[in-house]
């Protein structure tokens, strides 16, 4: 009976893994890139200058700018520059305008001048893609959440299927064909398992109110907004009196926050009814100050007399758990070295999915190796494997290239960057259909290696922020993206060379009996 259970789990692992593997690979890779969302945005907008951080001075500049450009707005939003993202962002909602009437601008944090940066979605594109998939709301979220559920299922069924999880804990045997792929799949899966489990479980927690709304609906009916207001504290919208009153300088209020919580970093600052008797200023904490991500926390001041109106810190245990899961997933709290580890673990997750897809196909292709012909369904899987892996790498590279090559003033520029991503990705499907499997891999990986490897050169030629400049200036976010691209290019070149050569024949193990035995073993383990 136990074997039957294990086999059932292996079947589930195999087939859900195949069907969702292509999508999960894309979600994991773009999600991994999102750990460097701010750095990628910085790379994508080299016009935004990096300045020494001075929150109080930046707040004063933002206030001056908003006072001048949006004195009658219903509310202002300010996001302070931080080490990872140098821009000072301000935004406001035009009076009487709905959600659409939102205007935002990027300022130089040292001068308060508006920065004319190229239009791009930067790192935010990959971040949004990894859970919305560029699909209409809410379908992308549902699909990616379901994929996360399949990932969790894949991990659990994978653990059950893996017969020697402890015995082969430290085992990796390269150069042995399918056996090596399975070893690699198992080892990356098991050794980085805490990360994999955390990331897929927490994605379900993040979207739990969407996925399992029954308990909310039972108490609140259609009024889900009421639930969130009770949970996070209703945004106490204070009506404007219509009586003008001079506002306190924001740096003064900033000092008050620092008195309340010395050394605290700030995320968003929201000013309601600026210039009115009833002005309110809300400071929220920077999400990276602690692991658990707490919504709704912060300090609200009266903008005219400076009285503290309310400070909320929600410390209920369920909130702490869900906020903790959210925070662990996002990794905003992570400093440089921990962020790099997050990035590598994300790549490990991507690799587990990729190796799984390769295994599925490899095992079935072996059966048809002698006959020389391949059934159509295997060819379909092969094409999808190539396009979803090497093709995606091409698409991501296309986004970065488009960022540097598209004219700065182009209408709908940000959209064209996204289009280039999908265009090259789509072309990779065509290419994979037209070329024989191994050759298609080699060519796509080779092109990806070229695009990634020469990205620093392109940056050097098209902007004044190439490696020569960025390293000298200590701009490690800019240099980091270039160097990572270079490293990826080298890795992809190595992979392309491997695919270019004829396949390594796995039948090197000498004694025939042992070979047959181990072949059977693989047969029983690789599903």
């Amino acid at each position: 009976m136990k074997e039957g259970f294990r086999q059932a789990m292996a079947w589930l692992h195999t087939w859900t893994g195949l069907i969702f593997g292509w999508l999960l690979f894309a979600i994991f890779l773009t999600g991994t890139l999102s750990y460097f969302k701010e750095e990628i945005t910085h790379w994508a907008q080299p016009e935004v200058p990096t300045r020494a951080l001075d929150p109080a001075a930046s707040l004063a500049l933002a206030q001056t700018y908003l006072q001048e450009h949006a004195p009658n707005a219903g509310s202002w939003f300010i996001r302070l520059p931080e080490a990872r993202e140098p821009a000072l962002s301000v935004g406001w909602r035009a009076e009487g305008a709905g959600r659409r009437g939102f205007i935002d601008k990027t300022l130089d944090p040292a001068t308060g001048e508006e920065v004319q940066a190229r239009e791009t979605r930067g790192g935010d594109f990959f971040y949004r893609f990894h859970f919305q998939l560029e699909m209409p709301h809410p379908w992308g979220r549902w699909l990616s959440t379901f994929a996360a559920f399949i990932m969790l299922l894949g991990l659990v069924t994978g653990i059950i299927t893996h017969k020697k999880i402890f015995k082969e804990f430290f085992t990796f045997r390269p150069g042995k064909g399918q056996r090596s792929w399975l070893d690699g799949h198992n080892a990356i899966g098991v050794l980085v398992l805490p990360f994999h489990l955390m990331i897929s479980y927490s994605s379900l927690v993040i979207f739990m109110s969407m996925v399992m709304p029954a308990s909310i609906i039972a108490s609140y009916g259609d009024n889900t907004r009421g639930f969130f207001n009770d949970l996070f504290g209703a945004p106490r919208e204070v009506k404007a009196t219509g009586v003008a009153a001079p506002m306190l300088p924001l740096p003064t209020l900033y000092e008050k926050v620092q008195e309340q919580a010395p050394g605290t970093r700030l995320g968003w600052i929201e000013v309601q009814n600026p210039g009115d008797q009833n002005a309110r200023v809300r400071f929220t904490r920077h999400a990276g100050d602690r692991i658990a991500h707490m919504r709704g926390g912060g300090w609200t001041y009266d903008g005219v007399n400076g009285e503290l109106q309310g400070a909320s810190t929600i410390e209920a245990t369920p909130m702490l758990i869900s906020g903790g899961m959210y925070g662990l997933h996002m990794g905003v709290f992570a400093g440089p070295w921990l962020r790099w580890l997050y990035f590598f673990f994300g790549l490990a997750g991507t690799a587990v999915i990729g190796t799984g897809l390769v295994l599925w196909l490899g095992k079935r292709q072996l059966k048809h190796a002698k006959s020389g012909s391949q059934p159509g369904e295997l060819r379909l899987v092969e094409v999808l494997n190539i396009a979803s892996m090497s093709g995606l790498l091409l698409g991501v590279a296309a986004f970065f290239w488009a960022n540097r090559l598209l004219p700065v003033g182009l209408e709908g520029r940000a959209g064209w960057e996204v289009n280039s991503f999908f265009l090259l990705w789509g072309l990779s499907v065509l290419h994979a259909m037209l070329r024989p499997g191994r050759r298609a891999w080699a060519e796509q990986l080779g092109l990806a290696a070229l695009l990634w490897g020469t990205l620093p050169l392109l940056n050097q030629l098209t902007t004044g922020h190439g490696l020569v400049h960025s390293i000298a200036a200590g701009d490690w976010a800019m240099a980091g993206v270039d160097l990572t691209a270079l490293g990826s290019g080298l890795f992809l070149a190595w992979a392309a060379m491997k695919m270019w050569r004829p396949p390594v024949v796995a039948a090197k193990r000498a004694p025939k009996a042992a070979k047959a035995a181990s072949a059977n073993l693989i047969e029983s383990e690789v599903n």
Partner: protein
């Protein structure tokens, strides 16, 4: 923090050596049962020290996150380099065993 990583790496490396197959491969000698048992105990003790150091350095929440991160990184490094550079890994193990305690004893750590 480096100390946590070194203790964690050494802990997993020694746990690996406590398995007969790996011990034979790496040290080209057959271990006694007692040797394997003491390696296993030693490996777990090193991991416990890593846990203690991580929590002492960063508190429970951040300490556990950092501990898991460096443990996963260390053991992945060990496993995937093992077939290619076993001698280099044994060297890294020796260095970790020396440098880890040194970093703990140093006042700045």
């Amino acid at each position: 923090m480096l100390a946590v990583a070194l203790f964690g790496f050494a802990g997993f490396a020694i746990l690996c050596l406590s398995m007969e197959k790996h011990y034979k491969d790496l040290l080209s000698a057959a271990p006694s049962a007692a040797r394997l048992r003491s390696l296993r105990v030693g490996g777990w003790l090193l991991l416990l020290v890593a846990l203690w150091l991580a929590v002492r350095h960063s508190g429970w929440a951040m300490g556990l996150v950092e501990l898991f991160a460096v443990l996963m990184a260390g053991v992945t490094f060990w496993v995937f380099l093992l077939p290619y550079k076993p001698r280099l890994l044994l060297g890294a193990l020796a260095i970790s065993l020396v440098l880890g305690p040194v970093l703990v004893v140093l006042p700045s750590a």
